[in-house]
């Protein structure tokens, strides 16, 4: 990346390219998670292309790197697109999404693709791993940080709250949890499955320094990520209010688009609405 920070407009353009690429991948494989790809694209873009994360694509295993853990591993379309845009591997690989023997599994595999920190897919795995990475930094007196992106429905898995208790007990101020609060899970709106509110209060009660942010406002996202830890000696949680399917009119806020697959016509319409070209 260049040394010059991206402008808000540039971040928006990159995020929309991530969106359309993820949708094209899902169109290609006839499988994918469009809704969450679109809700998380702005968060991922700010972390990687906004250069919040201190990572080195040429040396993905550089020991001092910041770690990002994609706990909502099903949103691999947006994740892979972002990693490719950041230079971890060639964007041409994205066209192999879920193909036989592809490096791009439906869910990320660290042993296949550079830049992946943890194999995720089953929910509730990322935060315990993130706690372990943060503890390792403390033990080794290293300054790396750990960012974990979770879904909101994912927080119904109890392992997250086990990990949250450990994070606060060990004062892991090098750990940042970002919740993609799009209010929709596979089956329905979270409110109709298991109510998650008051979500920020839950994290606060578990000992996190919490801030609710607009997960699609680049300025707000960048300011939030640049200000971690929010409190010394405490892990940080950002509850990012997002819209599932964000940026594509026919997919926005519709549970059916959790793993909806776009047709070619829908893909072209999405590109038009996002004001970006189709990747292939």
């Amino acid at each position: 990346m260049s040394g010059k920070p991206l402008t808000i407009d540039e971040l928006a353009h990159h995020a929309n390219k991530v969106r359309i690429t993820a949708m094209a991948m899902t169109h290609h494989s006839r499988l994918g998670h469009t809704g969450g790809d679109l809700s998380s694209a702005d968060i991922l873009t700010c972390l990687y292309l906004g250069e919040i994360l201190n990572v080195c694509p040429d040396k993905p295993a550089w020991p001092q790197r910041d770690r990002f853990i994609m706990s909502k591993g099903h949103c691999s379309g947006a994740y892979y697109s972002t990693l490719a845009a950041r230079g971890f591997f060639s964007p041409s690989e994205l066209k192999t999404f879920m193909d036989p023997l592809s490096m791009l599994n439906g869910h990320p595999d660290r042993n296949k693709l550079p830049g992946i920190e943890a194999n995720t897919g089953p929910l509730g795995h990322g935060l315990p791993i993130g706690v372990g990475v943060a503890l390792a930094a403390k033990m080794r007196k290293e300054s790396w940080r750990v960012f974990v992106l979770t879904g909101d429905g994912e927080l119904q898995e109890g392992s997250n709250w086990e990990a949250a208790m450990t994070a606060q007990h060990y004062s892991l101020d090098n750990l940042v949890v970002i919740v993609d609060r799009n209010r929709i899970q596979q089956g329905d709106f979270t409110d109709n499955i298991i109510r998650m509110d008051p979500l920020a209060d839950k994290w606060e009660a578990f000992g996190f320094a919490v801030r609710e942010i607009d997960g699609h406002n680049y300025g707000e996202l960048m300011r939030a990520f640049e200000s971690v830890p929010l409190a010394p000696g405490q892990p940080t949680c950002f509850v990012a209010r997002t819209i599932k399917g964000k940026g594509v009119s026919f997919a926005e806020n519709k549970p059916a688009w959790h793993h909806g697959v776009p047709t070619r016509e829908q893909l072209e319409l999405a590109a038009k609405e996002l004001n970006v070209e189709l990747p292939w």
Partner: protein
């Protein structure tokens, strides 16, 4: 038909708790290797890591009663360059965290060592909830996960020290039942290699863990009847010593396996897979036969399921006679 074999009383041997050997090996390794750390689930005393926690407080993590988290934390510590020993009662560690063991350790292939303590039926009186007789079947089928069941303090010490050299996830099953020393002091543990503790060409007994000493007593009793039993300590269940198994299937009249676990999916299953594919031979699989064990002391339960020198010798004798 059950054949009976008189078991001569053996001289009172000194007995050991293998957890002591494991804990002191871990402390010595941590003193010289800054990567060594421990993760427990409020199990400081049962994992015998009190000294470790005092000596290395910065490398000791107690996550509380949270096994899924505990295994995930182990994977994260490995990501951060540490070598974590994740230690807890085997019944909770394996059963509660099975998906984390599969995904975070096996599939991810992180260098994490799971120490399943007080395994088998060591918590006899506490009931089936606290028995861990399923863990061998659950762990040995997970790709990348190495599975070892040491038999005595010497082997436990060697297995723990070996685990630091081994780059990959391991499940180490460590009992709290008192056992005698069964190995020659000069013996060294080699992963994937069975240890022949008693030679014989009539019948083979393959076992591990707390049953090894009982198998040796069985072999001595059979010797008095003129039957020469080979006893293999198969501490390394995965990888398993296929050559030693095939050699036994070819060179003796059959194989008796004995394990402090369910008869399905454990050591007996692993041996049967090799025998079936390479050299079909008569077998007896001794263990807990597909039931939840009742309550009772560990010794009582071993007697109850005939996992004794008498039970092993009888099975070997029956198999030997059937083949004649």
């Amino acid at each position: 038909m059950v054949d009976t074999v008189a078991i001569p009383p053996s001289a009172a041997a000194k007995l050991f708790d293998c957890r002591d050997a494991y804990a002191s090996a871990l402390e010595e390794m941590a003193a010289t290797d800054q990567r060594v750390c421990a993760v427990v689930n409020d199990s400081v005393s049962s994992t015998k890591l009190k000294n470790f926690s005092t000596k290395f407080p910065d490398r000791f993590v107690n996550v509380g009663i949270a096994e899924q988290n505990m295994v995930g934390v182990g994977a994260g510590l490995a990501n951060g360059g540490m070598v974590p020993y994740v230690c807890g009662a085997s019944c909770f560690l394996t059963a509660r965290a099975m998906e984390q063991i599969k995904v975070d350790l096996g599939y991810s292939n992180w260098n994490v060592k799971l120490c399943g303590m007080s395994s088998g039926m060591a918590y006899g009186q506490l009931g089936a909830t606290h028995h861990s007789i399923e863990d061998l079947a659950w762990t040995r089928i997970i790709p990348n996960l190495t599975v070892v069941v040491p038999a005595d303090p010497q082997e436990t010490d060697q297995v723990i020290r070996y685990s630091l050299e081994h780059n990959g996830p391991m499940f180490l099953r460590i009992s709290r039942m008192a056992v005698p020393a069964v190995h020659d002091p000069l013996h060294t543990f080699t992963l994937g290699r069975a240890i022949m503790l008693h030679d014989g060409d009539d019948v083979t007994i393959i076992t591990n863990g707390v049953l090894v000493s009982r198998a040796l007593d069985a072999a001595k009793a059979l010797e008095q009847q003129g039957i020469h039993a080979r006893v293999l300590n198969m501490s390394s269940i995965k990888p398993i010593d296929a050559d030693a198994i095939i050699h036994a299937a070819r060179g003796t009249r059959g194989i008796v396996t004995a394990e402090e676990a369910l008869t399905a999916g454990g050591l007996g299953g692993a041996v049967a897979e090799i025998v079936t594919l390479h050299h079909p031979a008569p077998m007896r699989i001794l263990g807990v036969p597909g039931v939840f064990a009742p309550t009772g002391s560990a010794e009582f339960l071993l007697e109850h399921f005939h996992l004794t020198a008498q039970g092993i010798a009888s099975a070997a004798l029956t198999l030997f006679r059937e083949k004649q």
